[in-house]
């Protein structure tokens, strides 16, 4: 064990301390997000957009599924990474109106790792894969859009037609969807 104050008779004024310059030190969140972003390994259906390259905490993810119900669509998600990252997950919202059992019309996304199952070892990449999976395998068991979930469960043909209708731009029931085909 070290003995901390062997020089303890002296008062601390700060001027005896080594000069390291008064630079703002990067926060742990900043260090971690820099790593996450630099190591992004996106599937070919995904792309990121950084409106301000100096701000790695705010960006968009664009997913263009090439198979499944949502093939041919283009869906944009906003990511906001807070100062408590990676202790807390980033806030993710879907900005494209989509007919999907796990995404509601306000853009809230039901993906376990975005909330209750988030762990600091997960990365931005894990979320990208999770979101991509939602388009390949929409899950009617955990619905956020209950109507869409019921249709998917009872009539896959109708669900497929509704998804197509929504992506082309039009009404599904009483809800209007903007066109989001590529």
């Amino acid at each position: 064990m070290i003995k901390l104050f062997s020089l303890k008779q002296q008062k601390k004024d700060g001027e005896t301390a080594p000069k390291t310059g008064n630079q703002k030190k990067p926060s742990a969140a900043q260090l971690r997000i820099t790593k996450d972003i630099n190591e992004l390994n996106l599937p070919k259906t995904c792309n990121t957009e950084f409106p301000d390259p100096d701000d790695l905490l705010t960006f968009k993810l664009i997913i263009c599924p090439d198979e499944g119900f949502y093939r041919g669509g283009r869906f944009s998600f906003s990511f906001k990474v807070g100062p408590n990252y990676p202790h807390e997950p980033p806030k993710v919202k879907c900005e494209t109106p989509v007919y999907h059992p796990n995404i509601d019309l306000e853009g809230n996304v039901c993906l376990n790792i975005l909330r209750e199952d988030w762990k600091p070892v997960l990365t931005i990449n894990s979320i990208v894969y999770g979101l991509q999976y939602l388009f390949l395998e929409p899950n009617p068991e955990d619905p956020l859009n209950k109507e869409a979930a019921e249709v998917l469960q009872n009539n896959r043909r109708l669900f497929e037609q509704n998804v197509q209708k929504a992506m082309r731009g039009g009404y599904v029931g009483s809800v209007y969807f903007e066109r989001c085909l590529k």
Partner: protein, 448 residues
């Protein structure tokens, strides 16, 4: 304004410190091996040792009282909060007439007045408002915080004060952090020697994650009153946005709105148990505070401060958990340092660069070719004039495009100088590295 212990009054009475003298002026079987009994120990504690207490809430009040009664005379306290009625049951330095005033200021005045000789300096501000020079002036920092963000910040700050000579830690740059935390009937006290023992970031997994419920449960199958409140908080607020602002947990109007909407939803699903207090608790993430837990944890922390300041005894190694839910339980263990800790494993590495006229691409070449680094495709960021800047990031197309122009710019043009720090992320390392630019000495200074 303040009356100082100027050598008169009870301080001079022999008996006030006689118990401390017994501990500090004699040796004993439990003493630290390096302990030298001497009147100097008490003298240092009272006359030189400068402490910083972060947080003047439940733990902070206890800490300040304990430390002041132990003989520490130079205590600073930071807190950005003001006193609320609900604090008064346990934050005993405050009275009803103090409601609305700064916790730090009222607490400082109370201790300075009540305990002869002790002077507490208040700072009614955020910890982030102070820089290195401020934090470097303390011998020991003690935190009694309820926020993980603030803990991580002070942890990062104390680690950034460490200086290394040839990769070896200079122990005189080390400022210990004694961290106390409580949640209801549970608490912990820990001793962090930055750069030596496990830091806050090393043990981030130990902090309980915020209670969250699956979104789909909240949206479709609520069973608990909390589900209804979360629904209003997460979904309904942004949809209806009654005041066009984010939720402010301290605004009674906001809490009332959430309360009413949550009630409607609870009725709809036949759920009982929504109360105004519960709404407040869920929205603000309040965990009920227990005065006795605070007292025990603060006492454990203060004892560690005493041990470190006097070297009279081996300090806690390094994490004590306390639980008085059912009887009393304590357990101490050695939390382990994480080898790849984002905060404390960071020993900045210097990179030799010819001078300020070198281009960013030259620096990248050095990082890729120097045997010290051998990186593959490093991404570089820096803090320049207080702002985060992305200098170059090859792996993300939209960033690469916008930062490509920087490659041909000189370090000087980019605002980088001798001693500047850069963050470098690369697939060859599990963490972002911090590098320090070292320019070769200009020819003028080479002849001595």
């Amino acid at each position: 304004m303040d009356k100082m212990g100027s050598g008169e009054g009870p301080d001079n009475l022999q008996y006030r410190w006689c118990h401390l003298r017994k501990v500090l002026e004699r040796t004993g079987p439990f003493c630290h091996p390096d302990f030298e009994p001497s009147p100097d120990n008490l003298n240092f504690l009272m006359e030189s040792c400068k402490l910083l207490v972060i947080g003047a809430g439940g733990l902070g009040c206890e800490l300040m009282k304990d430390l002041a009664l132990m003989g520490f005379k130079d205590i600073h306290v930071i807190d950005m909060d003001t006193i609320e009625l609900s604090n008064l049951n346990r934050q005993f330095l405050f009275r009803r007439r103090d409601i609305g005033q700064s916790k730090a200021e009222v607490a400082a005045k109370f201790i300075s007045t009540r305990i002869p000789g002790c002077h507490v300096t208040p700072h009614f501000s955020k910890i982030q408002d102070f820089d290195e020079t401020f934090y470097r002036s303390f011998h020991i920092v003690i935190s009694g915080l309820d926020s993980i963000v603030a803990r991580r910040w002070i942890n990062g700050m104390l680690i950034s004060l460490l200086s290394y000579k040839d990769g070896v830690l200079d122990q005189s740059s080390l400022i210990p952090l004694i961290d106390g935390g409580t949640e209801g009937f549970k608490g912990n006290a820990r001793v962090i020697l930055p750069g030596i023992t496990a830091c806050i970031e090393c043990t981030l997994d130990l902090f309980p994650p915020q209670v969250t419920y699956p979104l789909c449960t909240i949206a479709n199958t609520p069973r608990l009153p909390e589900h209804c409140i979360e629904y209003v908080k997460v979904i309904q607020w942004s949809k209806e946005n009654p005041w066009d602002v984010p939720i402010d947990g301290d605004d009674p109007q906001h809490i009332n709105w959430i309360y009413e909407k949550a009630m409607e939803r609870a009725v709809q699903f036949g759920i009982q148990g929504i109360t105004y207090r519960l709404v407040q608790g869920v929205v603000k993430n309040i965990i009920p505070a227990v005065a006795s837990t605070n007292a025990v944890v603060a006492a454990a922390c203060a004892t560690e401060v005493f041990k470190l300041a006097t070297s009279c005894c081996v300090p806690l190694d390094n994490y004590m958990v306390f639980n008085d839910v059912d009887g009393i339980y304590t357990y101490t263990y050695q939390a382990e340092r994480k080898e790849d800790c984002l905060a404390c494993s960071q020993v900045p590495t210097t990179v030799d660069i010819p001078g300020p006229e070198a281009k960013l691409e030259d620096l990248i070449t050095v990082l890729c070719e120097s045997p010290k680094f051998l990186m593959k495709s490093p991404g570089l960021t820096a803090t320049i004039d207080g702002k985060n800047r992305t200098l170059y990031m090859p792996t993300v197309a939209s960033i690469e495009e916008k930062t490509r122009v920087n490659l041909k710019k000189s370090l000087n043009e980019l605002g980088l100088e001798d001693g500047s720090q850069l963050m470098v992320a690369d697939s060859t390392s599990p963490n972002t590295l911090i590098i320090i630019l070292k320019f070769a000495s200009p020819p003028d200074f080479e002849m001595e």
